[in-house]
């Protein structure tokens, strides 16, 4: 056997085999690449494929999800439970973190249960579970924002005699709203099924953004009728300049960027239940600043409850994110809620806004870096600096209000008559409204840091004024109250 010859032959065959394998693998990879390009191209041309019909009555997000799977996928992730430095979506008990709030809310449902709100997915469950609903009687009004409530309003409105037809859409909602607000919560909650759903922000036919919460429609119109400057909502200023014809209509007057804030502002705002009908109402007739809303409540002679320790008639701030954001630099620069809380993300060749609404601190690159081209660590540090400062001011305010409460209690025990306590109680109302306003607002001061600091400075001032007042009305010879212990860290 000629081994040299056959060795060469063998080698040649192996070269052929290897070449074949290399070409096969390369072809395989190229076809993979080709398939990838085909997919990307397809994504770019068609990314909405309607497989089911949805309309104004479809609250079930799973049905919409069949048509808009990408948005639905991120929407469903609001079930996550994550803590950020000061907030997040985990239901921790504020009353344990800052026990002073048991005293600030003395005599009110929030002194019993004040848990941090979880993500959108839990808004209805959380409300059904809170002790504030179990141990206290609440009206159906709460459901305006804790459920996907619009179809319920339309149904109840039609039942109560509102005119039929799509052109009477708002009349039906407003009528149903009046009916449901006045119902007991336990009865009204049987009419709803889902937490916030697609229908609450989107028009079913066009998928355009749309506001439909009746209280917001009333409130934003009241705001438009005022002279409060709204550079961050240019459509309101335009409506005013064009002669204030009829009513301001956010759904037709506002531009898309304004709508990307207004759909959120439907619920993330300050409100109260007006009159025996418990109609959800926003105190925006004078403007969106803390003292303008306070003036509204003062003029209406409104109180949320009477403080158990001092007898002051006090206010509860809700979650004034829209109002606070309106005072900040981001609003002024045309940045909408959705820009940071629902930033655009890419899936292949498609750009979708992330429907996993959450703290931008959990998504810094997408939320901040589109505008602020600096490293994530630096951005995070800047936000935390603002929030740490706000927290320090809050601690000071908590100490100040505790001193005021102690002062008034001391005066009462010393036998100071009620009429002489009026001034100290009025100062408590002012101080408490302001500190609660910043505490309840979900951004730890970030949405408008200077405004939050201004409000807390006023809160501290009013609280200390009240403390001085309570001391000045003590009968001659009464010992001053001993200095309260400080809870706040500096």
């Amino acid at each position: 056997m000629n081994s040299r010859f056959s060795g060469r032959r063998g080698l040649a065959i192996w070269v052929y085999v290897a070449a074949l394998a290399v070409v096969a693998i390369a072809t395989f990879l190229i076809l993979l690449l080709y398939q990838n390009i085909v997919t990307r191209k397809a994504e770019a041309t068609q990314h909405v494929f309607r497989v089911v019909d949805v309309d104004d009555q479809t609250t079930d997000p799973a049905l919409w999800g069949k048509n808009y799977p990408r948005q639905y996928d991120s929407y469903r992730r609001t079930v996550d439970l994550v803590r950020t430095k000061y907030g997040g979506s985990e239901a921790f008990q504020h009353l344990d973190r800052d026990p002073i709030w048991r005293r600030i809310f003395a005599g009110y449902a929030f002194a019993v249960d004040y848990r941090e709100e979880r993500g959108h997915a839990y808004m209805l469950t959380d409300q059904r579970e809170t002790e504030r609903v179990h141990k206290f009687t609440q009206p159906g009004a709460c459901l305006q924002c804790h459920a996907s409530s619009i179809p319920m309003y339309i149904e109840q409105g039609l039942k109560a005699g509102a005119p039929a037809g799509k052109e009477n859409w708002e009349a039906q909602i407003q009528k149903g709203f009046e009916v449901v607000c006045a119902m007991p919560y336990s009865e009204a909650e049987k009419l709803v099924e889902h937490p916030v759903s697609c229908i609450d922000c989107h028009d079913a036919d066009t998928m355009n953004l749309r506001v439909s919460r009746p209280a917001f429609l009333n409130g934003i119109r009241a705001l438009a009728r005022s002279d409060y400057p709204t550079p961050h909502l240019p459509s309101i200023e335009r409506w005013r300049n064009e002669g204030r014809k009829d009513e301001y209509q956010p759904n037709t007057d506002a531009n898309r960027q304004e709508m990307r804030s207004m759909v959120c502002a439907q619920c993330h705002n300050e409100y109260y239940f007006k009159g025996p009908g418990k109609l959800v109402t926003h105190p925006w007739d004078n403007g969106l600043r803390v003292e303008q809303m306070e003036a509204y409540y003062d003029n209406a002679g409104y109180k949320d409850w009477t403080h158990q320790e001092t007898g002051a008639e006090v206010l509860k701030a809700q979650h004034p994110e829209f109002e606070m954001w309106s005072q900040g630099i981001h609003a002024r620069s045309g940045v909408a809620c959705a820009d940071c809380h629902m930033p655009y993300q890419r899936e292949g060749a498609i750009k979708v806004s992330n429907h996993h609404v959450r703290s931008p601190m959990l998504n810094v690159a997408a939320a901040c870096q589109s505008c602020h081209r600096i490293p994530e660590t630096e951005l995070r540090a800047r936000v935390e600096l603002i929030q740490d400062r706000n927290r320090a001011l809050l601690n000071r305010s908590q100490d100040a209000i505790m001193a005021l409460l102690d002062g008034v209690i001391h005066a009462k025990q010393a036998g100071v008559p009620d009429d002489q306590l009026a001034k100290a109680r009025a100062l408590q109302r002012k101080a408490q409204w302001r500190i609660d306003y910043v505490y309840a607002e979900n951004s730890m001061g970030f949405h408008a840091s200077q405004e939050a600091a201004r409000i807390l400075a006023e809160a501290i001032d009013y609280a200390r004024q009240g403390q001085v007042e309570a001391q000045s009305i003590l009968p001659v010879g009464t010992a001053q109250p001993k200095a309260p212990t400080r809870t706040g860290q500096d």
């Binding site: 190229i30 750009k351 997408a366």
Partner: protein, 168 residues
Amino acid sequence: MLFLDTVTTRMKRVSTRWRILLLLGLTGTLGLFAGIGTYTFYYAEGLSYFSDDPRACVNCHVMREHFDGWLKSPHHAVATCNDCHTPTDFIGKYITKAENGYWHSKGFTLQDYHEPIMIRPSNSTVLQRNCVRCHQQFVSGINTHVGNRREMLDCVSCHRDVGHGPVR
């Protein structure tokens, strides 16, 4: 191995015919590979990347906002993507295109790029040189150390919206 031994033995016998067949097979395979490759290249609009047409930069849609912004920006009438983002000399231009093309294809295919996209330092230097190339007369007095960030700020640190319009 038994199979290969048999093949080897047979090849000895019919070596010429076998060789021709093998060569034909291999050439055919290579031709098929070339065809599929070329078609993929054509389908991916590969040639467009050699051009100066800004539309080539939005083939993959990632730079849609940058393209839209450029349409509305002050430089729209005087400069296209390549005027600012690639060097002017032939070799430099195609090396820059090749390098960025590699990173862009890899990022878009594997979907592993940073969002939002940001310019890399080497591309930033190219950009700065191009600012200066056109605006030399205005900036000659202050234009000292292009590409050295400790010595000189890039023009776009302040004039950030000249190329892509206002950022939101």
